[in-house]
Subunit: 232 residues, 2 copies
């Protein structure tokens, strides 16, 4: 229907030194998002980071959504190529690769899974993932598809939740203990109603895992599940 961004060429640079390009715009937007959060990415701010008015950007990008899409693709380019001798090593490297980028660029986690992406870097990532998986001897396309999709989906959710918690903590003081301190009184009052005995016990006694441990654990579950489905 409408042309995808990737389809449209950059505006020509007949004019002498137009020091602007999609790449530079995206880079500026990413820097802004990295340092001030995704909400700080506005066409005005990105523009003025490049000494340009907001309207100038519209030569390179049709819409703000397109800019975000380009940012996502740029982030995909940062994911290291999946590698590993076995299929589970490959899947695991994919997962941790995506997580790494998301922890470096928190806005990436917010955008992940928000809409389908088909940029060149995203495609390249898919390509690398597929070939790496098949190099391990896993050549049933159905299985590969299912496994990849599941791992991707898991990573989206895990990373999103992890980043969300991290931001919430940071928002209310610096410390994690501080965050617990802030919500504790409320939780205690709720528990005092007696309506949530299991939750109360859980908060009390459940082992408190680090974020990476939770991530790793879920991933282990997932891989083990795929493994055992391969045996049939």
């Amino acid at each position: 229907m409408t042309d995808l961004i990737w389809d449209r060429p950059e505006p020509s640079e007949r004019r002498a030194p137009s020091p602007l390009s999609r790449q530079r715009i995206v880079r500026a937007a990413i820097e802004l998002a990295d340092s001030a959060g995704l909400d700080a990415v506005s066409l005005r701010k990105v523009g003025s980071a490049l000494d340009a008015g907001p309207m100038r950007l519209y030569r390179y990008v049709d819409t703000k959504d397109e800019l975000l899409t380009l940012m996502v693709d740029a982030a995909y380019a940062e994911i290291p190529a999946p590698a590993g001798a076995t299929w589970d090593a490959v899947l695991s490297s994919i997962a941790t690769g995506i997580r790494g980028v998301a922890l470096r660029h928190e806005w990436f986690a917010e955008l992940l899974g928000g809409r389908p992406h088909l940029g060149p870097a995203t495609l390249a990532h898919g390509e690398a993932a597929l070939t790496a998986l098949r190099a391990t001897g896993l050549d049933d396309l159905g299985t590969v598809t299912g496994a990849l999709a599941t791992v991707n989906v898991y990573v989206i959710g895990a990373v999103r939740k992890e980043v969300a918690e991290r931001r919430a903590q940071r928002a209310s003081g610096l410390d994690q203990r501080q965050w617990q301190h802030a919500t504790a009184p409320y939780l205690l009052r709720m528990f005092a109603t007696g309506d949530y005995p299991a939750m109360e016990e859980w908060v009390h006694d459940a082992p408190h895992l680090q974020a990476d441990e939770v991530f790793e654990l879920g991933l282990t579950y997932l891989l083990e599940g795929i493994r055992s489905s391969l045996r049939n």
Copy 2:
């Protein structure tokens, strides 16, 4: 630190027939989000749906974010109580329960995992999940925690991606075939570069699964993984 919403009482209703309440506001907001998308939820629009100015809402809610949080909690209240004779049946019912709500209220998927929620309905959901799980004899808190967290995270990602795709399709015409039609030329051109042979083959030959099948498949993997970790 700052008071949580759940802490603050509703404004008193001394004044005769103040036909407003947090509940009514949240309900109006949800209706708006259901029918016109999350972006359509603005204090002005919610207000005028209740014959009120935007400022009036600030008696009941401190911030728009709070309204969104209340919406999420209300959505949690719609999740049917988890049930099942075995722990995997319980986990599975949790997963499909959340997915059901997210498909009914797409904005829920967008908000899921966005920030930590601690509303009464959310707590009640957690309570029900925990007790249902323990009723099946699964009483190691560590295992329960890990399993629940993993399933939750998986559902967040899965639902988010599913809803995103569904919305993208709907955005470009009604039909799914139409969406493929829109992106097909672009993909073909990308494939023509020869840079993505594996992806090309994959698009061609991979079995095309329905959304529910993908969801169910991933869930199966996950449960099987947990199951086999229980055996050790």
